[in-house]
């Protein structure tokens, strides 16, 4: 029988190692000047470097929670969430969230479908995403209507659509790129007009992607806090660092509370997934990220409002992400039956 205490310690060690790996990958390949390239284009490109994504997948990081029989690492959502937290911290423009959306949906599909699609996605050879088709009708195996915004939906090789309680693979899709305040993640809607589509399963559990996005936002909030604190230590006014004033240092402490609470909720939801935990973590991490990113700009003062400064990247990522999968108020409301 396994000792729970030591297995928890082992899991913590595995996750710490994974965290270090992803942090080093982002430091090597995606420092902020590199990330900024994604926001300096007209927005019609993939928004990320496909070769870098293949390299990331080559480290076994694209299919962490996918079973080994489909080429994945056979780990749990908790490990996938650790990776997300680090990617969020780096604001990494990589199709990680879209990949989790697609792979977690495919895992609930028929065995044949899983074997057909998962290995290529996990290896980084093909990209995939999932769009919510609340506005899409299904009639006689054909889709009509427009989906909500989905990450990487303009560039993904495979698009999955949730419509009318089922999971569909459409034969084709009109990709409609959408302008987002967040230049580090491309989003698009998919439009259908009587497009034939194959039903491959029931509507998937949205939980895993919600938890991964929650973790990503917790990581982003931590980076915004680190940026604010670093500046508060070096920026001097009235002859001393602004961080010597309680107005600033207590604000930083409050932001630390937001960051650690968000990280703790995301990690808890990833360890013990449930609809309740997913909704709570996503809503809370979104609130925390938006708040920390906003105060990060304030602590910087005027310089924080400039295009050249990186503070706005977090602010924009926070506000774009927190509504991407669900509205926070609806999530909080759902916690109280």
């Amino acid at each position: 029988m396994t000792d729970t205490a030591s297995s928890t310690a082992e899991q913590d060690a595995v996750r710490a190692e994974l965290r270090g790996l992803v942090r080093a990958f982002c430091a090597d390949h995606l420092p902020l000047p590199q990330v900024r390239r994604a926001i300096e284009t007209d927005g019609t490109d993939t928004g990320y470097d496909p070769a870098l994504w293949r390299r990331f997948a080559g480290l076994g990081l694209a299919g962490l929670a996918v079973p080994e029989e489909y080429g994945g690492a056979g780990q749990s959502l908790a490990e996938a969430a650790v990776v997300a937290e680090e990617l969020g911290r780096a604001l990494a423009p990589l199709p990680y969230l879209s990949t989790v959306l697609a792979t977690s949906a495919l895992l609930a599909a028929d065995a044949g479908v899983r074997a057909e699609h998962l290995p290529g996605i996990v290896e980084g050879e093909r990209t995939a995403t999932l769009a919510q088709g609340d506005g899409v009708r299904v009639e006689g195996g054909r889709l009509t209507g427009t989906t909500g915004p989905a990450p990487d939906a303009a560039s993904a090789d495979l698009v999955l659509v949730v419509a009318d309680g089922g999971l569909y693979v459409p034969e084709a899709a009109e990709r409609r790129p959408l302008t987002s305040i967040d230049g580090t993640r491309r989003i698009a809607a998919l439009a259908f007009d009587g497009t034939p589509a194959r039903r491959i399963g029931d509507a998937p559990d949205p939980g895993p992607a919600m938890i991964v996005l929650a973790a990503e936002m917790a990581g982003g909030a931590r980076a915004a806090l680190d940026m604010a604190v670093a500046y508060a230590k070096v920026r001097e006014q009235f002859g001393r660092p602004i961080g010597a004033n309680q107005a600033i240092k207590h604000l930083c402490a409050e932001l630390l509370v937001d960051v650690e609470a968000a990280a703790a909720l995301a990690a808890w939801a990833a360890r013990e997934p449930s609809a309740r935990a997913a909704g709570m973590a996503l809503a809370y991490c979104g609130d925390a990220y938006a708040h920390v990113a906003a105060e990060c700009i304030q602590i910087h003062g005027g310089i924080g409002f400039t295009w050249e400064h990186d503070a706005h990247l977090y602010y924009k990522r926070a506000h774009a992400s927190r509504f991407l999968l669900a509205a926070p108020d609806a999530l909080y409301t759902a916690l109280i039956p």
Partner: protein
């Protein structure tokens, strides 16, 4: 060698079945208090029951469990009508850890087991009228006399001092040293001559704390916790344990607070989507306060301060929710049974002060954990 979670649960369940009746169903007019108040009529019985229960827990090996087992045990325990351990908490979670970390072997041998078994109760004698947030400025003097110290001064905010056997006192032993370096921690016999305890009436109308007057109280040097003039470090251990005990267990908050507020709102027909969202936020803040203490890689001292601040954010949301739902019944006893919530409303301000004010927690987090410049001291 190690017991599986299932085997542990089975053993715990058998133990609880043998000693406790199941928990009775909750009623809307049950107490929702945040502070335990001193009640001379009931106190002796409560204390006796707590001591007996802690002894049983200790002897059966359920008194000091690690994280996951503690959670599993607490979850099981919530289904039973267990005696309230409140009168013992200072001894268990504040004084015993300080003795364990800093006490001599002799001190540990004499006091640790009796404290952990609940045979002895303890209180803290830290704050003074002029030493609150600036705790290191305490003035209570201890003067050496042979093998003893003679202690004189006034302490305040001492929970449980009226029934405590032992007091963990922070006293000044070197008035000429810098303020942090002239302090020593002594274990005072609360039954000794010269100790006078007076309950302190607070804004709720009740009393949860005491003032303690020490007049030439003799304390053997053998009852010193940690080195002479090294009391500040030992006191910090106690304060961190206190924060962990206060915030970590989120114990002060009624465990079913969210459900009870939702029930009240439902009964009154005001459980609107906006009200549900507000209660959902409260639910998330309370869950975060509990989960922060389980964060891998987060320093436990930081976690304790963060958890305390989260509990207080949650309480602010809860007070807002209670006001919105109960309205006038919160302000006055309208005979509907809901005025019990006034106790919650009136107790809430204390939690932002006790155990180190929220402002002190922010200073600690900013300086020790974020490395921001220190306040002038």
């Amino acid at each position: 060698m190690t017991e599986s979670p299932d085997a542990f649960e089975k053993r715990a369940r058998a133990f609880l079945d043998a000693h406790l009746p199941p928990r009775p169903a909750r009623t809307p007019s049950d107490r929702v208090a945040l502070l335990e108040e001193i009640d001379p009529e009931r106190e002796a019985g409560t204390l006796r029951a707590a001591k007996r229960w802690q002894g049983l827990l200790y002897d059966a090996g359920f008194a000091e469990l690690d994280g996951e087992r503690a959670d599993a045990f607490a979850a099981l325990l919530s289904r039973y009508d267990a005696p309230d351990l409140q009168p013992l908490l200072v001894g268990l979670h504040i004084v015993a850890p300080a003795i364990r970390a800093h006490g001599s072997d002799d001190l540990k041998r004499r006091y640790l087991r009796p404290l952990l078994r609940g045979e002895l109760t303890a209180c803290q004698l830290f704050s003074e009228p002029d030493a609150g947030s600036d705790l290191a400025s305490v003035r209570t003097r201890a003067v050496r006399d042979g093998d003893s110290w003679v202690v004189t001064g006034q302490k305040v905010w001492s929970s449980g001092a009226h029934h405590a056997d032992l007091g963990e006192a922070l006293v000044r032993t070197d008035p000429d040293a810098p303020k942090h370096k002239g302090l020593t921690l002594l274990l005072v016999d609360m039954h000794a001559p010269g100790v006078e305890v007076r309950p302190l009436r607070q804004m709720t109308g009740g009393a949860s704390f005491n003032e303690v007057f020490l007049s030439e109280v003799r304390v053997p040097d053998a009852d010193r916790i940690g080195p002479l003039n090294g009391g500040w470090t030992a006191a910090i251990t106690s304060l961190s344990s206190e924060r962990a005990a206060l915030g970590g267990t989120v114990d002060a908050v009624p465990p079913d607070l969210v459900e009870r507020l939702a029930e009240q709102a439902r009964r009154r027909g005001v459980l609107t989507p906006a009200a549900r969202a507000r209660l959902g936020r409260l639910d998330a803040a309370l869950t975060a306060a509990a989960q922060v203490n389980r964060s891998a890689g987060l320093d436990p001292a930081a976690a304790a301060s963060i958890s305390k601040l989260l509990v207080n954010r949650a309480l602010a949301l809860a007070v807002e929710a209670a006001s919105a739902v109960l309205g006038p019944s919160l302000a006055a006893d309208l005979g509907d049974g809901d005025h019990a919530w006034a106790e919650f409303l009136l107790g809430a301000p204390a939690l932002r002060i006790a155990g180190g004010t929220d402002e002190i927690q922010r200073t600690i987090l900013a300086e020790r954990h974020l490395g921001l410049p220190r306040d002038p001291r």
